[in-house]
C-alpha cells in the first residue's frame, strides 16, 4: 500500500513538472526565449500580428505578457524582433553591426535595442533607437556599436547590452501591410562588421 502511494506521489510530481515545464517552454516564459510570436518571419525578423488581440492564443498571450506587455493591436502597431545577424550569430555588444534598409509601410517606425532581460541597456548614450524621423529618403544605414562611430553615422548604442535583440515597431501600418506583410515589409538587414577579441 505504501509503495502504491509512493508510486502515485512520484507520478504526480513528474506530471506536474512536465505540465509546468511544457507550458513555460511553449509560452516563451523560460529564460533565453525572447520570441514575441511565431506568426511571421521576414528577413530574420519575427513577429505575430495577433499580439494584443483577443484572437491571440493563450500561448501567444502569455508570451506577449512576458516579453511585450501592453503591446497594441495590429491596426495601430506591429512589432518584430530580431536577435541574430545575417550570418545567424546572436547579436552581442562584443561586435559592431551595420543595420540598413529602405522605406517601411507605416506612418512612423523605429528600431530599438533591448538586453536579454527585455529592457533598454543600462547606458546614458542617448542612442537607444533609430527612427523614421532620422532616415532621410528611402535608403538608410545605422551602426550598432558600444561606442559612437567617428564618422557621424547614425548610431544605436549597445553599450552594456550583453547579448541583445532589436525590436522593429511599425506604427499606423498601411492597411495592405496587414494583409500581405511578407510582400510589403522590406525588413532591414543586419550585417556583422567586426568583433572584439575575447579575453583569455
Amino acid at each position: 500500500m505504501i509503495n502504491r502511494i509512493a508510486t502515485f506521489g512520484i507520478a504526480g510530481i513528474l506530471g506536474v513538472g512536465v505540465g509546468v515545464y511544457s507550458a513555460l517552454a511553449m509560452s516563451g516564459l523560460l529564460p533565453g526565449d525572447r520570441r514575441i510570436g511565431d506568426g511571421i518571419e521576414i528577413n530574420g525578423w519575427v513577429g505575430d500580428l495577433r499580439q494584443g488581440s483577443v484572437d491571440a492564443s493563450p500561448y501567444l498571450r502569455a508570451r506577449i505578457a512576458r516579453h511585450g506587455l501592453l503591446a497594441m493591436a495590429k491596426s495601430e502597431a506591429i512589432y518584430f524582433i530580431r536577435s541574430r545577424d545575417g550570418a545567424g550569430e546572436h547579436l552581442t555588444e562584443n561586435c559592431d553591426y551595420k543595420i540598413s534598409g529602405g522605406a517601411l509601410p507605416a506612418g512612423w517606425w523605429s528600431i530599438t535595442l533591448y538586453n536579454s532581460e527585455n529592457f533598454l541597456p543600462d547606458n546614458r548614450d542617448e542612442a537607444l533607437s533609430f527612427n523614421s524621423n532620422q532616415s532621410s529618403g528611402d535608403a538608410w544605414t545605422a551602426i550598432i556599436s558600444p561606442t559612437q562611430p567617428d564618422d557621424g553615422a547614425h548610431w544605436i548604442s549597445s553599450r552594456n547590452a550583453g547579448k541583445f535583440d532589436l525590436t522593429l515597431r511599425l506604427y499606423m501600418p498601411e492597411p495592405d501591410t496587414l494583409a500581405r506583410p511578407e510582400q510589403l515589409i522590406a525588413a532591414p538587414n543586419v550585417e556583422r562588421l567586426t568583433c572584439k577579441e575575447q579575453g583569455s
Binding site: 508510486t7 502515485f8 512520484i10 507520478a11 504526480g12 513528474l14 506530471g15 506536474v16 512536465v18 505540465g19 509546468v20 511544457s22 507550458a23 513555460l24 511553449m26 509560452s27 516564459l29 494584443g52 488581440s53 483577443v54 491571440a56 493563450p58 500561448y59 498571450r61 502569455a62 506577449i64 505578457a65 512576458r66 516579453h67 511585450g68 506587455l69 501592453l70 503591446a71 497594441m72 493591436a73 491596426s75 495601430e76 506612418g107 512612423w108 523605429s110 530599438t112 533591448y114 532581460e117 527585455n118 529592457f119 533598454l120 541597456p121 543600462d122 547606458n123 546614458r124 537607444l128 533607437s129 527612427n131 524621423n133 525590436t167 515597431r169 506604427y171 499606423m172
Partner: protein, 170 residues
C-alpha cells in the same frame, strides 16, 4: 504493466491540468504584477500619470520605446461602478489611447489623429450604447496614452499637453 497504467494516467492528467493552469493564468498574473508595480511607482488609480522620459534609468515595463511618452491610468470598477470618463488631450504628433484588460488584451485603441479623444469606459456589467462608450471586458486594467516624443524638447511639449488628460470616475 497493468500496475503502471494507473500512475501513468494520473501523471498525464496532472501534466495536462498543470499545463493549462499555467498557460491560462500567466497573463493575468503578469498583468496583476505589472499593475502592482506601476502603482508602487506612483501611477494613479483613476488619473493619468505621465511617466518620466523613457530611459534605461526610468523604464518600468518590458520593452518600453524611448521615442514615446507614456501616460498611464489604472482602473478598478469596484471603485468606479458607473464607469470612467477618459480624455486624451490633442497633440500635433502621433498619439494613441489604448485600453488593456486584466488578461493583457488590447480591447480598444483610438488614434489621436491630431484631435483630442473623450470617451466613457464602462464596467463589464454595463452595455455600451453610445458611440463614445467603450465596454471593458474586466473590472481592472490599464489605460495607456502613447505620444511621439523622441527628443527632450518633444517630451517637454507632451508634458504640457498631458495636463489636459483625464481619467476620472463618472
Amino acid at each position: 504493466m497493468k500496475k503502471a497504467f494507473a500512475p501513468l494516467l494520473f501523471a498525464s492528467a496532472l501534466a495536462v491540468i498543470s499545463h493549462l493552469a499555467v498557460i491560462y493564468a500567466a497573463p493575468g498574473v503578469i498583468m496583476d504584477r505589472a499593475m502592482s508595480m506601476l502603482s508602487n511607482r506612483g501611477i494613479a488609480l483613476h488619473g493619468f500619470t505621465l511617466g518620466e522620459r523613457t530611459t534605461p534609468q526610468t523604464q518600468t515595463v518590458v520593452r518600453p520605446s524611448p521615442d514615446l511618452a507614456y501616460s498611464a491610468c489604472l482602473f478598478d470598477f469596484e471603485q468606479a461602478p458607473a464607469g470612467l470618463r477618459v480624455k486624451m488631450a490633442s497633440t500635433e504628433n502621433y498619439a494613441s489611447l489604448s485600453f488593456f484588460d486584466a488578461s493583457t488584451n488590447n480591447f480598444q485603441t483610438i488614434r489621436g489623429d491630431g484631435s483630442g479623444v473623450d470617451v466613457r469606459l464602462l464596467p463589464p456589467k454595463m452595455a455600451a450604447t453610445q458611440p463614445n462608450e467603450i465596454g471593458s471586458p474586466s473590472n481592472t486594467g490599464i489605460i495607456l496614452i502613447r505620444r511621439l516624443a523622441p527628443t527632450e524638447a518633444d517630451y517637454e511639449r507632451v508634458a504640457e499637453t498631458a495636463k489636459g488628460d483625464k481619467c476620472s470616475p463618472i
